[in-house]
Symmetry: none
Amino acid sequence: MRLSDSIESFIKTLLSQEETEVELKRNELAEYFGCAPSQINYVLATRFTLDDGYVIESRRGGGGYIRIVRVVESGQQRLAYLINERIGSAISEEEAVRLIGQLVQQQVVSLQEGEIMRAAVSSQALAVPVPDAIKDALRARSLKSMLTAIARQNRSAAKG
Amino acid sequence: MRLSDSIESFIKTLLSQEETEVELKRNELAEYFGCAPSQINYVLATRFTLDDGYVIESRRGGGGYIRIVRVVESGQQRLAYLINERIGSAISEEEAVRLIGQLVQQQVVSLQEGEIMRAAVSSQALAVPVPDAIKDALRARSLKSMLTAIARQNRSAAKG
DNA sequence: TCGTTTCTGACTATCTTTGACCAATAACAT
DNA sequence: ATGTTATTGGTCAAAGATAGTCAGAAACGA
C-alpha cells in the first residue's frame, strides 16, 4: 500500500467514528508516518478536496494545526446534484440566477440567502477586466462554493 | 492552547459579564501569564482590533492602564461602514473572512449567511488564472455587493 | 518506454513570543 | 514651578514554531 493511501485511510478512520472533523499537526503526522511533512499536503490536496467533500483549514506558527472537515451528506440531494453535476466548470449569470431562484422556490435557501448568492455572481460583482469565459468559471466556482457551504450548514444543523 | 489564546479568553471573559469595558495593568497581566509584557500588546493588536469591534485606550506612567472597550453599533451602521469605508476596492481573503466573522458574531447576519459569503469570497471560489490583485478587487466587489443586498433586505424588512 | 502519480527537500510564508530600547506620565525633591 | 527619577505602557526586530509551495526525482502502470 502506498504511503498516501495509508495516510488517507488514517485520516478517514479518524473521521469515520462519529467525528465530522479532525485536527492534527502536520509535523507530528509526518513523523508518525516517517515521511516529509509536505507529503501530508499532497494527500490533502489529492484526496481531501472540496469536490471530495472536505474543507481544509489550517494555521501556521506556534500551536499551528491542520483541520479537516467532512462536509458532504447524501441527504442534500438537490445541492449535491447542483454542486457535483449541474453547474460544472462555468455558468452564465442568467443560468445562475435561475438555479438560485429554484432553490428559493423550493425553500432550500431563504429569500435573503438567495439575494446574497445572486449578488455574489452578479455581473456587477464580476466587473473586472477579465474575459467572459473566466467570469463564467468564477461564477461556477463561487456558486458551488456557496452551495457547499449551505450543504455543510444543513448537515451540522441536522446533527445539533 | 496558545498563550495568546489564553490571554484573549481571559480578557473576553472579563468583558462578557455585562461589562462593556475593562481596565487592566499590562505588567500585572504579563506577570499573571508569565510572559513578556509586549505579549499583551500582541494579543490586543491581533484580537482586539476595531474590525473585531474593540477600541483600546491606554496611559503610561504611575497608575497607568490599558482599557479595552467593546463597541456597539447597529447592524445597518456596521454594514454601511463596511461598504462605504472599510472594504474599499480590494480585500484579501483573510480580511474578508475576519469581517464576515464579526458580522456573524454581532448577529448582523446569520451563521449560514456568513458561511455563504465566506464561500463566495474563498480562494477556492476565485481559483481562476488572474493576478492576485484582481482577485482582491473581485472579492471586494463581491462582498460589497452581498452586503448591499443584505442592507437592502434589512431596510425593506423594517418598512414592510 | 512514456505518461502519471507519489514523494522529497529546499525555500517561503505566517503566526507567536521575547527582549532591548523608546516614550509618556506621575511622583518627588528642591 | 521646575527638574529629576520612578513607573508605566509602546515599538520593532529577531528568534522560534508551524504550515505551504513547487520543481524535480522516484515509483508505478499501461
